[in-house]
């Protein structure tokens, strides 16, 4: 064993990496628990890659799409489990990223020199949601079909370019085989090509700048601050967290298998209360409500406008809140964070309430 290690070490320099990992430290304080969420998101992404490749073994886009998913779910041994794991882990991944984003926000970890970490993280969240949206259509059952139909109302509501973009995405006036084909290309080729380098950049930044301290810790004198080595202390706990994440995923996937509805049929009327996935519910509801208050194009324009403005403010927060301590701007930023959190959860619940 040690001989093999030495052989590899001489060629790849394992000892240096290990020494580096032992030298690296992670702060230890009452908010340390929130440091794990980025790692949890990463874990679910890896599960996505692994289970996604397995699904690719049997899945065929286009006219066969529903039939192949049906085979995976009912005919192929444990196909239901693989598919279930893929769907559940997608949802858990979005959830973990949201937890990660808000914890980063409230710990003010976006401040200098970590602005690019914040922006690349937001871009990753955006890509993740496109991943979710494009993947949701691929089984082509009735829920997927109608959810995609209503989901495309979001880009369609954009002024001027809306219809143009929607037609390109949809590949025609209606969601159909052509749409599956291009969603498939997007889901398994284009998005991973964008995602993986961006993820690499994001992780490199984390490595470069280390874990940020929350403002309350920064106030403490150096002697009072505590930290643990990344290796083996934090690393072993991180692995423990991954194990817990794996447990949560397996329990959900095994006990609550992802269902497959009847094949999509454009001629059948939509099931009552059709709605997009939960992570699009907030936008969907905003659009719906503004459409109700201001009928016509004004409502759509306002809904989209307010949402775009919100994202813009959210993205530019590192430029606005640059203070290192509890300045006025830092306090405002905290309030914006609470407003965003409450607004997001509130509109989502509101959306489900109205179904």
């Amino acid at each position: 064993m040690s001989a093999i290690y030495r052989w590899v070490d001489e060629r790849l320099g394992l000892d240096e990496i290990l020494a580096f990992a032992k030298h690296k430290t992670v702060p230890e304080h009452r908010y340390s628990f929130w440091y794990y969420w980025g790692g949890i998101s990463l874990f679910f992404f890896l599960v996505q890659v692994f289970s996604g490749v397995l699904l690719l073994v049997y899945y065929r886009p286009g006219a066969d799409a529903y039939e192949t998913v049906r085979q995976i779910t009912y005919d192929i041994k444990f196909g239901w489990l693989i598919r279930s794991a893929h769907s559940w882990s997608a949802n858990l991944m979005v959830l973990a990223i949201f937890a990660h984003m808000f914890s980063v926000y409230f710990m003010k970890a976006y401040r200098k020199p970590r602005e690019f970490g914040w922006w690349s993280g937001l871009a990753l969240l955006g890509l993740t949601m496109v991943f979710g949206f494009s993947g949701y259509l691929l089984p082509m059952d009735d829920l997927a079909y109608f959810a995609t139909k209503v989901g495309l109302e979001l880009p369609a509501a954009m002024p001027l370019v809306g219809p143009l973009i929607t037609n390109i995405v949809r590949g025609g006036p209606e969601v159909g085989e052509v749409t599956i084909q291009r969603f498939f290309a997007l889901h398994v080729v284009v998005l991973p090509l964008l995602y993986i380098p961006l993820l690499g950049f994001h992780l490199w930044l984390v490595q470069r700048h280390g874990n940020a301290l929350p403002p309350s810790e920064e106030l403490k004198p150096l002697a009072k601050r505590r930290s643990v080595p990344f290796f083996p202390d934090f690393f072993s706990k991180d692995l423990g967290m991954w194990l817990i994440a794996l447990n949560a995923l397996s329990a959900l996937a095994a006990l609550y298998p992802w269902q497959l509805g009847p094949a999509a049929d454009p001629l059948v009327s939509a099931p009552a209360g059709i709605h997009p996935e939960w992570y699009f519910m907030s936008q969907f509801q905003l659009l719906k409500v503004f459409g109700r208050w201001f009928p016509g194009a004004t409502g759509e324009f306002l809904g989209i406008g307010i949402f775009t403005l919100g994202i813009l403010v959210w993205a530019l927060i590192p430029v606005f809140d640059t203070e290192t301590r509890f300045g006025k701007r830092a306090r405002i930023a905290t309030w914006i964070g609470f407003a965003a959190l409450v607004g997001l959860i509130g509109t989502t619940i509101w959306g489900y309430w109205e179904i």
Partner: protein
């Protein structure tokens, strides 16, 4: 008025019981295990002169008193309320058989609550030796509550041949002890005791995690490690006792583990197998995480981590409870009463005379006989609202113990796309209950007369077609009940 066959929309009454029961198990087992932990830790602290341990133990006993005395007791009563509402027949059987058992249970329960309070309030006020004795008295009485309730719980899965031979004769009380020490009594008792000991360790980790490891490194490390050790017995013995338990379960139930068909029609494993595997997996993870985080990094153990371990314990408990409930299917009291409250011995009578006419809990207004005459139009394709109302009552009495209209095990999805004929065929399969019927393994027979079953088919057909025709869907879930209420 929905009482007593309880209509809980979407989640179903099963999950009301399930939710309360899982919460209760998590606390009541801690009450027993923690009862052992406190005096043992106190004795060790006194023996080795660890005064810092005693201060932490005092805090832990307060946490313990509040959690078990308030939440444990309240959730225990909650189980009583919910099972009485959801399955009155089974609850009645349990009361009639075990009234004496419950009397004993309450005696120990009172001792348990009293000693727990006395134990907490007499810290540093009475001699150490006496205080420790109160702790042991608590440990003993709380263990005895488990010893008693375990007999009643295991009875529901395996009542045993002796009891079954006198069931319904009125002489059930004469075989009280046979029913009590039933075939799964001992393995279940030992399994539960292991769970108690593990949970005592996990809850102690929560208290210990709140000690500042930098200010009191000795105290925190020693207490965390000693608490972590409480998970050790489970680590070694759990697999053995689990095997023993499985061997004591009736062969028919055990077969459920390897059965290829499940209610959701997916995969090669049934729900019960999957739930059992989740239990094994989460239990193994608890050990791995506790070793990695608590034992090796004792000083840095944070509250978040201790709560994560408790979360895993919750998942393990929930999966175990689910597996055990599924194992009991299609009965609520093994070989005696089906999961919908119909006794095995009553099936023939209900089939001949009608279910609704005989049910103690559901009454038809106007009387069932009158409504069950063929409708005057003679048109069976458009069921009258009376037939739908009767069908809904059948659903309430015989299906709703496990199914809901549109939530957990929803009929609108399970029956999706079936026409009236195929629904009637399904009901006929359930009614005939032939030996080779694949439903026998987990579903009770459907009882009742032909018109009653026809009405149920009408109602279920309405449920099954509601999803694809949104025009009438918003009113569907309420339409039949409105009819029914109008009549009352």
């Amino acid at each position: 008025m929905n009482y007593p066959f309880w209509d809980v929309p979407h989640i179903g009454s099963v999950w009301v019981i399930g939710g309360i029961a899982i919460f209760h198990v998590l606390i009541s087992h801690f009450a027993v295990g923690g009862g052992l932990y406190l005096p043992m830790a106190e004795a060790k602290a006194l023996r080795e002169g660890r005064t810092d341990w005693l201060e932490t133990l005092q805090k832990h006993s307060k946490f313990f008193l509040v959690l078990t005395g308030v939440f444990g007791a309240v959730s225990g009563v909650g189980i009583w309320f919910s099972i009485g509402l959801a399955n009155p027949e089974a609850t009645s059987t349990l009361i009639h058989n075990f009234v004496f058992g419950w009397a004993i249970e309450w005696v120990f329960f009172f001792i348990e609550l009293t000693t727990a309070a006395v134990y907490y309030y007499t810290w540093n006020r009475i001699p150490e030796k006496l205080h420790l004795k109160i702790g042991w008295l608590y440990a003993g009485s709380s263990l005895l509550t488990l010893v008693i309730i375990n007999g009643i719980l295991t009875f529901m899965l395996t009542p045993g041949g002796t009891w079954l031979s006198v069931a319904g004769s009125g002489n059930e009380a004469s075989v009280f002890w046979n029913a009590f020490f039933n075939p799964t009594y001992w393995p279940s008792l030992f399994l539960r005791m292991l769970v108690c000991v593990s949970l005592a360790g996990i809850y102690a980790l929560i208290t210990a995690s709140r000690i500042d490891g930098y200010e009191f490194p000795q105290l925190k490390t020693s207490l965390v490690r000693w608490s972590a050790k409480w998970l050790f017995p489970s680590f070694v013995l759990m697999p053995l006792f689990f095997l023993w338990y499985l061997l004591s379960v009736p062969a028919a139930s055990r077969q459920l583990l390897s059965l290829g068909v499940s209610t959701i029609g997916q995969g090669v494993f049934t729900q019960v197998t999957r739930a059992a595997l989740v239990t094994v997996m989460t239990s193994a993870t608890i050990l791995a995480v506790v070793y990695n985080v608590a034992w090796k990094n004792a000083r840095n153990l944070s509250l978040g981590w201790a709560l994560s371990v408790l979360g895993l314990a919750l998942a393990a408990t929930a999966a175990t409870e689910q597996a055990r409930e599924m194992l009991r299917k299609p009965y609520v009291i093994g070989e005696h009463m089906y999961s919908n409250g119909v006794r095995k011995s009553e099936v023939a009578k209900f089939n001949a005379q009608g279910y609704l006419t005989n049910s103690s809990w559901i009454k038809v207004h106007p009387p069932a006989e009158a409504t069950m005459q063929p409708a005057s139009t003679g048109d069976t394709s458009s069921p009258t609202s009376d037939k739908i109302a009767i069908g809904k009552l059948m659903f309430r009495g015989q299906c709703m113990a496990c199914h809901t209209v549109d939530g957990y095990r929803p009929m609108n999805r399970l029956l999706l796309g079936r026409d009236r004929t195929s629904i009637m065929n399904l009901l006929k399969t359930l009614h005939d209950y032939k030996d080779d019927s694949p439903y026998r393994a987990y579903m009770p027979p459907l009882v009742g007369t032909q018109p009653e079953i026809e009405s149920l088919a009408d109602y279920l057909h309405l449920v099954a077609t509601s999803r694809t025709s949104p025009a009438n869907s918003p009113s569907l879930a309420h339409a039949p009940s409105q009819n029914q209420e109008r009549k009352q």
